[in-house]
């Protein structure tokens, strides 16, 4: 069972459900009040909402949710960089970040000093749960650009008292050389980049398994909660792999723990997290729904019931082996709502394909799925490109046959499997885009 040494704040992380509800409702009321009083956007949007009257969790669903497209529009109304979203004077803003813009123009994110304290604290909760301690040396191999990425994790590692090695402005080769040279004990990156660095290390003759790295913290993609991906990364690095989920607007809301169950705890001291069904009502534990998040301590640019579009499944289990009372989402983020594709009437999730491909040790970890119109029939075709692992005694025909069989068993779809030479597919340094939906005829089924 958990004890004080495994939690950043055991007093909060083991709080009773009843206390959480009261605490969250109080914070939610305060956030609504703050957002309404200080932003033009929420003043109008929540004009009918009286925060003092939201006295039960059931009443939370009467508050309208906030979408990304509303934020895009609001930031271009009013004055300044942040338009109608800003709740503070510009002098109090200490940092600028923006979303990656994968689904449209980026959203600008302002943070004041106290917001940055909140970011730091949320990430410290994550890092501490993953075993980062003051005697660790933490390497962050990312670009240190406008995306929030691991900026707050960097601050949090310092807050914990660990030694931080910034890995910006380096090539992948230089980064693996730094790992060999400086002996970090923790590395934080996306799962895609963890695979990439492992590949580069092998090319450079650097033995990651023999390095001091004991902890890999993954974020930005759900891979570390995918069983086969996690196992493959742990094997390549010889380290424990942990998962974290967050977003620029929502903050660092989820983290895996030391229990054997794959998935994420929700940091309920800092976030009100709802999992909603198509009717906008909370789904029962065990059912998949979409994530709606309210950061409970965000000030310069507050959000109320932000539609994150991630799909998750709240666990049915009561309590966790790690001792935390925070609720758990089984398997972490199951995918973005817009990543799920309907192919010939069957729902296909990128994650299912990832789980299968990463479970095959005769192929490398990069892959790419294409969904296209059938050239003659009113049907879709789906194919996957994989790369053969030349370290194995392989046979392309056998890989093709076995992979096709596994994919059909799990997805009920007939894939065309193309086995390519290693190094053929593009490598990414942040997140992977492994799905291309090229259909023209059946565009209505894309989502």
């Amino acid at each position: 069972m958990g004890n004080s040494n495994t939690m950043w704040n055991p007093a909060l992380e083991t709080m009773s459900r009843e206390y959480f509800r009261e605490y969250q409702l109080n914070r939610l009321q305060a956030q609504i009040r703050h957002a309404k009083d200080n932003t033009a956007f929420y003043k109008e949007k929540l004009s009918d909402i009286q925060p003092d009257k939201i006295t039960t969790m059931e009443m939370v669903t009467t508050i309208p949710t906030t979408t990304k497209s509303e934020l895009r529009e609001a930031q271009h109304m009013g004055d300044g960089l942040y338009g109608n979203l800003l709740a503070d004077d510009t002098e109090s803003i200490i940092s600028y970040h923006q979303t990656s813009g994968t689904t449209g123009p980026p959203i600008r994110q302002s943070d004041s000093l106290r917001d940055w304290e909140w970011w730091t604290d949320c990430w410290a909760t994550v890092l501490w749960a993953h075993g980062v301690r003051p005697d660790d040396r933490v390497f962050f191999p990312f670009s240190y650009g406008v995306f929030v990425a691991f900026w707050a994790a960097h601050s949090a590692a310092k807050r914990i008292g660990a030694q931080v090695i910034p890995g910006g402005g380096m090539s992948s080769v230089q980064r693996v050389e730094k790992i060999a040279d400086l002996d970090p004990t923790v590395v934080a990156m996306t799962p895609t980049y963890a695979f990439r660095l492992a590949e580069v290390a092998e090319q450079e003759g650097i033995d990651l398994r023999g390095s001091e790295v004991a902890i890999i913290i993954c974020a930005g993609e759900p891979g570390a909660s995918v069983a086969s991906t996690k196992a493959a990364l742990e094997d390549l690095w010889g380290a424990e792999v942990y998962d974290h989920a967050g977003a620029t607007e929502a903050g660092a809301w989820g983290f895996s723990c030391s229990s054997d169950d794959l998935g994420l705890h929700v940091n309920e001291a800092r976030f009100l997290v709802e999992v909603l069904g198509p009717d906008d009502e909370p789904v029962s534990p065990g059912d998949v729904g979409r994530l709606v998040v309210t950061p409970l301590n965000r000030y310069a640019q507050p959000y109320v019931r932000f539609e994150l579009n991630d799909r998750v499944r709240l666990s049915e289990k009561n309590g966790c082996d790690c001792g935390r009372a925070y609720r758990f989402v089984d398997g972490g983020v199951l995918g973005r709502r817009d990543e799920f594709k309907t192919v010939n009437g069957t729902l296909l999730s990128p994650r299912t394909v990832e789980d299968i491909v990463h479970g095959f040790d005769t192929v490398l970890n990069e892959f790419h799925v294409r969904i296209e119109d059938h050239p003659k029939k009113d049907l879709d075709t789906v194919s996957v490109d994989v790369e053969a692992d030349q370290n194995h005694d392989y046979n392309n025909q056998r890989i093709r046959k076995q992979l096709r069989k596994e994919l059909r068993r799990h997805t009920h779809l007939n894939f065309t499997v193309n086995v390519l030479q290693s190094g053929t597919l593009d490598r990414n340094t942040l997140k992977s885009n492994r799905f291309s939906d090229l259909r023209q005829r059946r565009a209505q089924y894309r989502q």
């Binding site: 004080s4 040494n5 939690m7 950043w8 704040n9 055991p10 007093a11 410290a124 807050r159 008292g161």
Partner: protein
């Protein structure tokens, strides 16, 4: 060059008052440090360390006491 008349004239009593309050915070911090150590809550311990560090920086911005500079 900054004109001498543009340099703010801060009475020594004001600095002395800030020093007194800073000393109070330092004493309070020592209490918090002892308490948070007994609570074994890493978040409290590490943030207390952060507070102490900020306090040290603040102290660096206070001019030395007149009697100190005379010594």
């Amino acid at each position: 060059m900054i004109e001498e008349e543009n340099i703010p004239k801060i009475p020594e009593e004001t600095f002395e008052e800030v020093r007194d309050h800073t000393e109070t915070i330092r004493e309070e911090l020592a209490h918090i440090e002892r308490l948070s150590e007994s609570c074994q809550i890493p978040a409290l311990e590490r943030n207390t360390t952060q507070l102490r560090s900020v306090l040290r920086t603040m102290e660096l911005h206070l001019p030395p006491r007149l009697e100190d500079s005379e010594e």
